[in-house]
Amino acid sequence: MFDLSSLGIGLGSLAMLVLLIGLLLTGMQLAFVTGLVALIFTLGWFGVDALPLVTSRMYSFVNGYVFLAVPMFVLMAALLDRSGIAVDLFDAMKKAARKIRGGVAVQTLVVAVILASMSGVIGGETVLLGILALPQMLRLGYNRKLAIGTTCAGGALGTMMPPSIVLIIYGMTASVSIGDLFKAAFLPAAILALFYVAYVLIRCWMDPSLAPLPSDEMQKEDDAKQTNYFKALFFPGLTVAIVLGSIYTGVASVTEASALGVVGIMLSALIRGELNVQMLKDSAKSTMQTCGMIMWIGIGASALVGVYNLMGGIDFVESVILSLSNGHVMGTVLIMMVILLILGMFLDWVGVALLTMPIFVPIIVGLGLDPIWFGVVFCLNMQVSFLSPPFGPAAFYLKSVAPKDISLGEIFSALLPFIALQIIVLALVIAFPQLSLWWK
């Protein structure tokens, strides 16, 4: 058997990247590509005895308590979809939104920010918006790409706006205060959301056909429908209050708060007379579906990271960065950004955090930069990673609930302008660290 380790870490890294991209392009399932590459390198580099490395990482990955929040939020969204709550909520907001060009898109972003301050993960939120907002915009005849992009980018805000699982893991890895990270991330998150809103409004102002106002007929139809505002706003309000309240008043951890959210939705559906066994069964089924898909992608990426670390990837990347930047501060930061953006195209954020932060944070601290600021910068990078192809979790989450005729390719191309906005905000926070450190 050919001994891959004779390649050395430099060529080995290159071979790994080429194999990864090659297999991805054949259309093989992403989860199996990363997992298979991990196994091939484990076998070829370390031999048969090392193969349990991959299953050991698989075990550790699925065993993480924090990930339980993902199925909870997915379940919450699935139940919401099957009850009439979501439709009522958006119907009730329609009157306010229909006066503005792009009103529903702006509304989607407002809802996204509210959801983001309740949840610390992106999955459930993207799914929720994909069910709530996307069909609404498509029904009104919004430009598909604008509608898709708004939904996806808005959903990804879940980990930018505190609370955030990305910041928590960063804080654990870099050994800095998670409370400080939350404070530092707030303003950049708000700026990012405002950029999205401004982008939507400007594009709709330049080209009104992107976001048609509802026709008189539709308006009349709506007016005739007689929305029961109490019914429409009370139950979502109650659910939001339960989730927000439980996180901010300190009744529960993020995972438990998400469980409370599910209970809240169930109660609302029960009171509305919509709760039934079939609804529960269907929601659970779709949760199984979505989680199986997402978690196996995580398993594959996590396995790959473990093998690469064992191959000596940590030292290799560190030496490459330092030799490329020649110790220049801004140069080093920029190289790190490029690496994060590229890794973010192929791996999940947990993998990227575990792979890079042990190398980057000591270098950052050594250069005299603030690790809290760097945490926010990392978090912004992961915002890009959620949207960037070919591995863009937010796109996958949306795809799992979007109408069948929306392809993954269409989603990714819709996300390009939003990635540009994210990179602009990223550049702003790098150029003006005060944006994250003003409170210090």
């Binding site: 054949t26 259309g27 299953t55 909870m72 529960a252």
Partner: protein, 194 residues
């Protein structure tokens, strides 16, 4: 030819895929649907924990670990579930552009790669399961979590992984056989038409 569901596999077979293409797949989907109800059970026990902690000031010691174990097991099972109805995500940049015949060849390659993938996983899962079920002295003792409650969840979760990757290996094998026969049928049809 229209390609619709990019998340699923080959567009021309998608109705089969939804239901599972063979007996094993259909069985996995049925069992998976049943097991998915455990997500709701997890919600229920997490809610119970919050109530006990805040209203009765008596936090449980079992909810947290149970929820993690159930969730973790379901994530693993979800892999076989999504394989059964062909819902694992792919990058379809090229995949969607090629001819039906080429796509059959690509699928055969994917199934072979899947066999290699799960085959190696079976070996790895066997190793970690064995060492969590059998002590170095040769006694059977299930590895526990080490907490005050000390359930055997670590060893059980490792066993779940072993069982699921074995099932996935068989799934890939059956899919491979199925794909080869479809390719043969296509070649046969092609010969008659030309």
């Amino acid at each position: 030819m229209q390609s619709t569901d990019h998340l699923g596999g080959t567009p021309d077979h998608s109705p089969d895929d939804e239901q599972g293409r063979n007996l094993l797949d259909r069985l996995i989907l049925r069992i998976g649907n049943l097991l998915s109800l455990l997500f709701i059970f997890t919600v229920a026990i997490s809610f119970y924990e919050i109530v006990m902690r805040y209203i009765f000031n008596a936090p449980t010691m079992w909810v947290h670990e149970s929820a993690s174990f159930i969730g973790g097991s379901l994530f693993v099972v979800g892999g076989a579930y999504a394989l059964a109805n062909n819902k694992h995500v792919r990058v379809v940049l090229i995949y969607d552009q090629v001819s039906e015949r080429t796509r059959h060849y690509l699928n055969i390659f994917h199934h072979l790669a899947g066999l290699a993938f799960t085959g190696m996983l079976v070996y790895g899962a066997w190793e970690i399961t064995y060492s969590s079920w059998v002590t170095p002295f040769g006694d059977i003792r299930l590895e526990t979590s080490g907490s005050a409650w000390d359930p055997a969840f670590p060893s059980l979760l490792k066993a779940v992984i072993l069982v699921v990757v074995c099932i996935m290996f068989i799934q890939f094998l059956l899919h491979l056989i199925n794909e080869v026969s479809r390719l043969k049928a296509l070649t046969h049809r092609g010969r008659h038409h030309v």
